[in-house]
Point group: C3
Chain length 453, copies 3
């Protein structure tokens, strides 16, 4: 057993408030998959964690994709013939279709309408739209807003630039006792929406902060990256690191009122999948387990068949299942401090389980060892009072034949992982158990990574 | 993907009527496991498909069995003392126990009764009985008919022959792009009963006719054979062909009003088993899936442990579960044109699935390929509008790692095979996918079979 | 198929009465894990079966344990100041904590109370307590009894000895056609309690008696041993015999009114586990199947990871689930003759199944063999009258490919093992089947064991 026992925080008001405060700080920024908004976001995150920021030039080939031009925007508006801004980027950065090319033209409402996006079913909300890979422009606004626009000659201005530049991402690496890594990835490309994905960014930042202050068996790598293209870029530029990744989580949509969802990795029964399920099932969380599917967030890339890492996803309400998704209603009210804290707690408990999981050998495997003379067992016999602690010791002894991890034993015994892990620690202390080395020596020998960030 | 995409016919009145017409043409013939009735039946089938007819001499040893003597019958009757025919083969060929040896005797009713078979529970119906492997004779009649026979001296005549001759079977071979075969077998030995098994003969004949007019990836072999001994004879004389058989179906009892039944092969989870289940589950058919059991029709022989081919069975009501089974009530009214057409449709859809099933390789397996620039994916992002087509593409890309067939992917994604197969075709066209060769080169090289029939 | 078909006895009054009589004979003896009470018990058992008794000296190291000192007791009491015995070992041997060291002192009630054990929830019953591995002493009594004791000066006497001696166990070995063994183990260390475990002792003794009078394929080894330390001692001293043990059962708690429980071995799906489940499921027994857990009786030792034998356990109500457990209420009324007989019956049927189970080869595996000409199948065809016997023959032929045992075939066909086994016997008699040798030649060659007891 490693000494690295990460302490889990129970959901607390103060943590929830801190998470919400970081979200509020990040909320006004107009982020995209490239550009200054993304850089500003990483700068704020770097106030909490030690962040290495990488800049990847436009045109870099990353697997089947190419790093796109960098997009920046200063302003954008539609002005009526009286010179009034009737749609204004300064009021909400969702008003401009993300990645719109510069435009400066006059046109009648009829032509303008071909560039407008609304949500007729949710007439008060502004939708979020992007056009990353097709040069185009547009505005998003509420249906009620659109209904009020009379025919007129409008001045349409988008003061953006789309030029060769860089794709930016941030990385926080926390070395542990082992070079084996746990990767946690969160996307940072969405403009002013809180659940998707300031919640993920905030929780990832606070997990990194928490873990940096504790001993760790595993090394941790937190990725703050633009969605899809960022994950693809990171994976393409870091292929030599992938073999060290033992477990991974994508973090997104973690602040709404919905119940917790864990989406399994493509492998379906990886240790991370079982760890997350165990934590959810043995906690008092309302939750739901989802099988892998190839749509969703960056687990798509981590779990693509040529990468196929054991990376699952924690969310609350899955994307597309709540009306506020990808609209202006995903605002600061939509994410709740107590839900953020609970999500943080579940993530941390899952990591703590991975930290403590291991495979052990019963060193006295023929019949039971005499627990009583080691003070591990009640000495007056006859009463049937073996509690969970004694049960757990017997289960650990019974199944520690080198082919069952502590998580395997917890699952089979129906006891909690913590009960099993504590029993293993007691037995190990008494010399009845030793850990099997489950990491291959060449990996341990490699220490290059350890000094990186 | 092969170009051979067999078009499936939806159940239509005209097809049902054609199937019923062939049944009506075949109905009057007195068939048995050998003899002229069997030959007449094959001659009628040969009007629809190119049939190779084989004659196997009496006495030929076929595994544990011996080809029996050939049985033919001209007439059979029981005449009362007034010279009236009170039981008459000319009225129904079910009246004479199939394979009765010749007899020409007088006897009282009491003695005659030891040779009479009735169905007391169904007093209006004539049962169907055989005595293939024990030389014997008898008459079958309705219980009401028997009750009317007074004591008398009766003249009993069966004008049959049971002599060395041949066992006859018909074979329709349709070569495909591959030497790998799908075998479809139907028994042709039952006299005037429609569901068992003129329905199977008619559907097999029309499937062969349909397939002969379309490109085929697989080669097809249709067997029109007497039950049990015919299947054993064919298997014993064609052992060298068995390794080419990839899938098989026994067709029988396909015209009644009952729901569709698919009986799994002994292997239990063969591709044919999963294909049939998928077609039934994703269609609007009332159906039931049956596990393999070693009783039933000729799947008994195809699935015997030393043969063990992946051969399932399509039926409607399973044999023995409906009162008309093996009686004169299994007549032209008992089989329904629309049910025959539906059964045909299910068989054809199952074959079409096998034709299109294959295992593919994602040629861009590291992260997702960029579908948008290939016109395969919606270009305006943000809206959560990925439909089944886009889902299907992502599933195919995700699982096409060489170890999942399209049917595997359809099962895991819960999408229909056709949706998955269409997505695979689109991806293949864009160069993102290529088929794995799943048939071994030596088999492809072998072309002897291709020119056979 | 071996000729050894053990006849199973249906539960009968006379057997139940005999079992109860043996229990009554054993009831008064004060047993412990060592000592004269244990020897007296084995002497009574030896009236029924040929018993080899072993004596293992105190101090012998047995795996992680050491054979303890031998405990014997002549008397024990608490006497009040008027010289009256207020607690008296002669009234019930449960009154003295088992393995109490000698004591002869005077003390006030307050001090005495620290050595008294009661069951406040069951105020009329005396609990059963032990202190095998910590030198201590005490008395057990009912709560009502304790409540009546006034403060007084009491004379406390335990006239016991705890000195170097021996641990005693009994073994009944019944050689069979094969050296492969079935082990049946029952613990003999509990003083005057009937269900736990005079019921197990009585049933083991009568099973041995019954089997000794019948031909046997397997060899049988019955162990009458003190719990835990006895099992550990036997296993430690007999390691070279363990590889011969094919199946095993621990017998305990078999006389109460509760339903039958079978607890699976650690392996979980061993032949013994499936045999016991089949017998319970196809009989008319109320029963429950329990998964393995590492607490319970001596299955703990037999199933420890370094031993890991396929040893299950038959009980009625599991220990600790009924209030009478480990109290004076587990008396002669608590065990019922008819329940004892039923438990015996289930054990014997399970052993009979193991005796008859085997793996066979269909010698005519290509297509069905012609059963009719061998008199195994109805000769007049057409009627759908194949009964369970014919079904069973077809199932045996279908699955006897060398990889399915008769029990496998029974499970898959959903027929009873006896029906399948009878069908296999018929087919073997007709030369259609032969048994695969499933025991390795070196084991068969070894005959040393055969002459042992």
């Amino acid at each position: 057993m490693s000494s690295a026992k990460i302490h889990t925080a129970s959901a607390c008001t103060s943590l929830g408030a801190e998470l919400h405060r970081l979200i509020a700080d990040l909320y006004p920024i107009c982020r995209s998959i490239t550009g200054e908004g993304l850089r500003d976001t990483l700068r704020l995150v770097a106030k909490h964690v030690l962040l290495t920021v990488s800049e990847v030039p436009t045109g870099t080939e990353v697997f089947d994709w190419t790093v796109p031009k960098e997009w920046n925007i200063r302003d954008g508006y539609v002005r009526n013939s009286r010179g009034e801004r009737v749609i204004d980027f300064q009021a909400s950065n969702l008003h401009v279709v993300n990645y719109s090319v510069p435009v400066r033209r006059k046109m009648r409402l009829a032509e303008l309408k071909t560039h407008l996006f609304t949500l007729p079913d949710r007439p008060d909300w502004i939708p979020y739209r992007t056009s990353y890979y097709k040069e185009s422009w547009g505005f998003c606004l509420s249906q009620r807003h659109l209904d009020l626009l009379p025919d007129d000659e409008y001045e349409v201005v988008i003061d953006s630039t789309l030029q060769p530049g860089h794709l930016t991402y941030g990385e926080c690496f926390l070395p542990g006792d082992l070079p084996d890594e746990i990767v946690l990835s969160t996307h940072c490309c969405h403009p002013s929406m809180c659940n998707d994905n300031l919640s993920g960014i905030a929780i990832a930042a606070f997990l990194a902060k928490h873990l940096s202050a504790h001993p760790r068996r595993y090394s941790y790598r937190f990725l703050f990256i633009p969605g899809t293209i960022g994950a693809i870029t990171w994976l393409a530029l870091n292929e030599e690191k992938l073999s060290r990744i033992r477990h991974g989580l994508v973090l997104t949509g973690l602040g709404d009122e919905g119940k917790l969802h864990y989406k399994r990795s493509r492998q379906g029964n990886a240790e991370i999948d079982r760890a997350a399920a165990h934590v959810l099932q043995h906690g008092s969380y309302e939750h739901h387990l989802l099988d892998f599917s190839p749509y969703g967030y960056d687990e798509r890339q981590f779990c693509s068949p040529g990468i196929n890492l054991p990376v699952g996803r924690f969310s609350r309400s899955p994307h597309g299942t709540f009306p506020e998704y990808h609209t202006s209603a995903d605002n600061l009210d939509f994410v709740r401090p107590e839900r953020l804290a609970e999500s943080f707690d579940v993530c941390l408990r899952t990591l703590a389980l991975l930290e403590r999981n291991g495979t052990f050998l019963n060193l006295s495997p023929k019949c039971e060892p005499q627990l009583g003379r080691r003070g591990l067992y009640s000495m007056i016999g006859g009463a049937d009072n073996a509690g969970a602690r004694e049960s757990a010791m017997l289960w650990v002894l019974s199944l520690s034949d080198g082919s069952h991890s502590l998580l395997d034993i917890a699952e089979r015994s129906k006891l909690t992982f913590d009960t099993i892990s504590d029993a293993a620690a007691d037995l190990q202390e008494k010399g009845l158990l030793r850990e099997c080395l489950e990491f291959a020596p060449p990996m341990r020998a490699e220490s290059l990574e350890r000094t990186e960030p």
